[in-house]
């Protein structure tokens, strides 16, 4: 009998239709991935299976777990099933644990809720489970609180809670999206190992096709609340039938066509930069200990070059970015743009800042919700000695909007009228409007859906063709960096551990950390990258 069988599932929340005719199966011991972009309904399908839909949800259809229909089971019985027969792991590990309870208590609770054992015995079992997920007691005592653990470690605790009673079905909703590449690889390996050892069925939701490739036996592709295609992973990877699936795969494997880089003339010079923070005092007297977020970084960025910077969270890349932009002072070393220092004395040099601009990660937080687009785009005009007024200003705004594929009439709208991808375009327009020499892209496409991301990256390439554009592209996503940069630098713990031409670094990494990073990154099948031209 199939472990999980969803048939003709319809879902509406407060009258708005969300899912329509969704069907999928998971056999015991099988790993199935649900993939699709944001808004496709993947997470709500998972919540429906668990019976954890929000109030105002109306369902039709059937969700059979070992033959029992979840949709008609009363809540008390569902509580019995959750944790025992089916477990769930969520996306955001930082907020998934109760901050005022120890990890031991929280894992033991799963056991105590469902079985009649003593607290001590539950505690022992919790210890075993935590050790199994990679948190042995000698390093992670049961009395630890969540805030004492990193994101990856917290996610392991969540997994421990979900599998403590060896449920038949494990649902994982984007379990590694919020984690670093290396941590992601570890957690995915852990999940694979547990599934194999316990013979669990795994239903994994992810937008990242490379992750799917490594984990799933079968794929279910969803778009706008419906299942558009399903099939075994290998077969689907090679032959995509449905046009949406093809578009999705094409966008994931998208290769950007960059124009060739011009001859090297240094534009940005970073020399032995050290940025350190004071830490809280350990002793009452004596100097305060300092932590070095950026530890002796040196590199050049040449005119017209597209330079990438990769690293995991905490490596110091955001700090380095702020130092380059002159938003923070450095303790040692110097940063020069075309020979002029970014900081003079203790004040940022605004004449130099005028030649650099930045595009941020979050399309929803980068704009003041109360201002219109024309005012938002012209924020950098503040840096100009005599910003254009009147007709010249209107022309500048129109030109900037058109350069990024929008229209001049968009200038009078408010930012909430635009989608995520359009907002990033507006962010790029804001960065371009004063024609800086250097643009810093700080995780600028990380928050976008795959297809939108491909469009924005294409836009970047087009812009490079039209004008000489130098940029520093910062990202944790290796495949994106690979497609839009000429040279790349790898950062770890405040230091640049490797730099070189992109293809060279990716094909033949020299430093051990780069190798780990590349090995950990989930990858699409090689054939995909070649065949996308044909499909």
């Amino acid at each position: 009998m199939t472990l999980l069988s969803v048939t003709a599932l319809d879902l509406a929340i407060h009258g708005t239709p969300i899912l329509s005719g969704v069907g999928l199966d998971v056999a015991p011991g099988e790993s199935v991935a649900i993939t699709g972009e944001s808004g496709s309904g993947k997470s709500l399908t998972a919540l429906a299976i668990m019976g954890l839909l929000p109030g105002g949800a109306r369902t039709k259809g059937r969700i059979a777990l070992n033959g029992q229909d979840i949709l008609t089971t009363p809540e008390a019985d569902l509580c019995d099933l959750r944790g025992r027969e089916m477990g769930m792991v969520f996306q955001e590990p930082m907020t998934a644990l109760n901050p005022v309870q120890t990890i031991g208590q929280q894992v033991a609770e799963t056991i105590l809720i469902h079985e009649q054992t003593s607290t001590a015995q539950a505690r022992d079992r919790a210890r075993e489970v935590l050790a199994r997920v990679g948190l042995p007691e000698d390093r992670f005592p049961l009395t630890r609180y969540p805030h004492e653990l990193s994101g990856g470690q917290r996610q392991r605790v969540v997994i421990a809670m979900a599998i403590a009673l060896r449920p038949k079905l494990l649902i994982a909703d984007e379990p590694t999206t919020a984690l670093d590449v290396t941590t992601q690889a570890q957690v995915l390996d852990l999940l694979k190992g547990l599934v194999a050892e316990f013979g669990m069925g795994l239903l994994m939701i992810t937008h990242d096709l490379a992750v799917v490739n490594g984990m799933a036996d079968r794929i279910v592709v969803m778009q706008k609340g419906q299942v558009v295609e399903t099939g075994p992973t290998q077969a689907l990877m090679e032959r995509r039938v449905h046009p949406y699936t093809r578009a999705l795969f094409a966008a994931s494997a998208h290769k950007v066509d960059l124009p060739p880089a011009p001859a090297p003339v240094p534009l940005l010079e970073v020399r032995n930069v050290v940025r350190s923070y004071a830490l809280p005092r350990r002793r009452l007297f004596g100097p305060r200990p300092r932590a070095r977020a950026v530890d002796g970084v040196s590199f050049d960025l040449f005119r017209g070059e597209r330079l990438g910077l990769v690293g995991e969270s905490g490596c110091g890349k955001s700090t380095l970015t702020r130092a380059i932009l002159g938003l923070e002072e450095v303790q040692e070393g110097g940063i020069l743009l075309d020979g002029a220092p970014v900081f003079t004395g203790h004040k940022p040099n605004l004449a130099v800042r005028r030649r650099m601009q930045v595009v941020f990660q979050d399309p929803y937080g980068s704009f003041n919700p109360r201002h219109r687009v024309d005012r938002l785009i012209t924020e950098p005009f503040h840096l100009l000695k005599s910003p254009p007024q009147g007709a010249a200003r209107t022309r500048a705004i129109a030109a900037a909007l058109e350069a990024v594929g929008l229209t001049a009439s968009d200038a009078t709208k408010y930012i909430h009228e635009f989608s995520g991808g359009q907002r990033q375009r507006i962010a790029i327009a804001r960065a371009l409007i004063i024609e800086p020499d250097l643009i810093v892209f700080d995780e600028a496409v990380s928050a976008l859906d795959v297809s939108v991301r491909a469009q924005v990256l294409d836009l970047l390439a087009d812009l490079c063709r039209v004008r000489p554009l130098s940029y520093l592209f910062i990202s944790h996503d290796l495949s994106v960096v690979r497609s839009v940069t000429d040279r790349v630098m790898v950062m770890q713990s405040g230091k640049i551990v490797e730099q070189g031409p992109t293809e060279q670094v990716f094909a033949a990494p020299q430093h051990a950390y780069t190798r780990t990073l590349l090995a950990a990154a989930p990858r699409l099948p090689d054939g995909l990258e070649r065949t996308h031209h044909g499909s």
Binding site: M50, M88, T95, L97, N98, V100, Y145
Partner: protein
């Protein structure tokens, strides 16, 4: 944890010092010559001079401040000009009415508010919640002294369950005192309970929407179990702040309520002192009230550390 406690304690001392400076400045510096102020326009110069010497006003300002503070620390609050008795003694008698009243009201307020707030949060959007919200909306709008008058009308005058005012003193048995304080405590407590219930409800609702509650449900906890075992303790953290603030309002509100019930508390003392221009008494009582509030806030800070382990580590 130790570091946290020490830091909070240092903060306590600093607050006390600054508060005392403010009170001292207002009472002794602003009127110009406190002695002349107290005696009024028609006083003779030699009477004023005598009072000045008695009050030690000829010393320098810092010296006067220091002697006042050191005196208070030793329990000497000076001598009341009007009654010619040590202020400390007058305050001691009254404090044993005002302080128990505030504590009584706090207990009542919490006992009413917590169940009401939790009930409303667990029945969100449904009639039970609406009823609680309606009642609290009304409760928040009622002036406590007017409510006190209504209570007297119904329970004392019509039903005769309680006396309409007065306080028999503690030496004639604890129960008599508690009974005399009951109507006043209820009048004080009800509006505060309404506020507290709302805070409890909204804090709990916030917690119920948090991710870790969803994780608990995914483990198999029922809605009710998730509320009691996970959401509630986290919801207490903001509620504790409000309770601390409420204490200061209860002390202040108590002063007003004492007027309705003719209770011999700090309120009556202070109003008599104001009309008699007895600045020494006013100064001491205000300092005492502020002291109580600052100490209670310190206790709340300590309670935070007990409830929230994240605070213990930061030190």
């Amino acid at each position: 944890m130790i570091r946290y406690v020490l830091a909070r304690f240092a903060s306590l001392i600093l607050s006390l010092i600054v508060a005392s400076l403010v009170i001292f400045t207002v009472i002794e510096i602003i009127p110009g010559d406190p002695a002349a102020f107290m005696l009024g326009v028609n006083a003779r110069p030699d009477t004023i001079a005598a009072l000045r010497t008695e009050m030690g006003l000829d010393a320098s300002v810092p010296a006067r401040y220091l002697s006042w503070v050191t005196g208070m620390v030793q329990g000497d609050f000076g001598q009341s000009y009007t009654y010619r008795t040590p202020v400390a003694g007058m305050i001691a008698d009254r404090v044993w009415v005002s302080l128990p009243l505030a504590v009584y009201a706090l207990i009542l307020s919490t006992l009413i508010a917590f169940p009401a707030g939790i009930y409303a949060a667990s029945r969100r959007g449904r009639p039970g919640d609406m009823a609680v919200m309606g009642a609290t909306q009304l409760g928040v709008a009622i002036p406590n002294f007017w409510f006190a008058m209504l209570l007297v009308l119904v329970f004392a005058i019509n039903l005769r369950w309680f006396s309409a005012g007065g306080f028999p003193g503690w030496d004639r048995g604890v129960w008599g005192g508690v009974k005399a304080l009951t109507l006043p405590a209820i009048a004080l407590a009800l509006p505060q309970a309404a506020i507290l219930a709302r805070v409890m409800r909204s804090s709990l609702l916030d917690m119920l929407g948090e991710d870790f509650v969803r994780t608990a449900r995914a483990k198999g906890l029922s809605r009710r179990q998730a509320l009691w075992r996970h959401a509630l303790r986290n919801a207490m953290i903001p509620v504790l702040t409000i309770i601390g603030l409420q204490f200061s309002f209860l002390l202040a509100g108590g002063i007003i309520i004492e007027q309705v019930f003719f209770l011999p508390g700090l309120g009556r003392l202070i109003f008599q002192a104001i009309s008699a221009r007895d600045l020494i008494v006013v100064e001491s009582v205000v300092m005492l009230l502020v002291f109580a509030v600052i100490v209670v806030n310190f206790a709340v800070d300590l309670a935070y550390a007990l409830v929230d382990p994240r605070l213990r580590v930061k030190g």
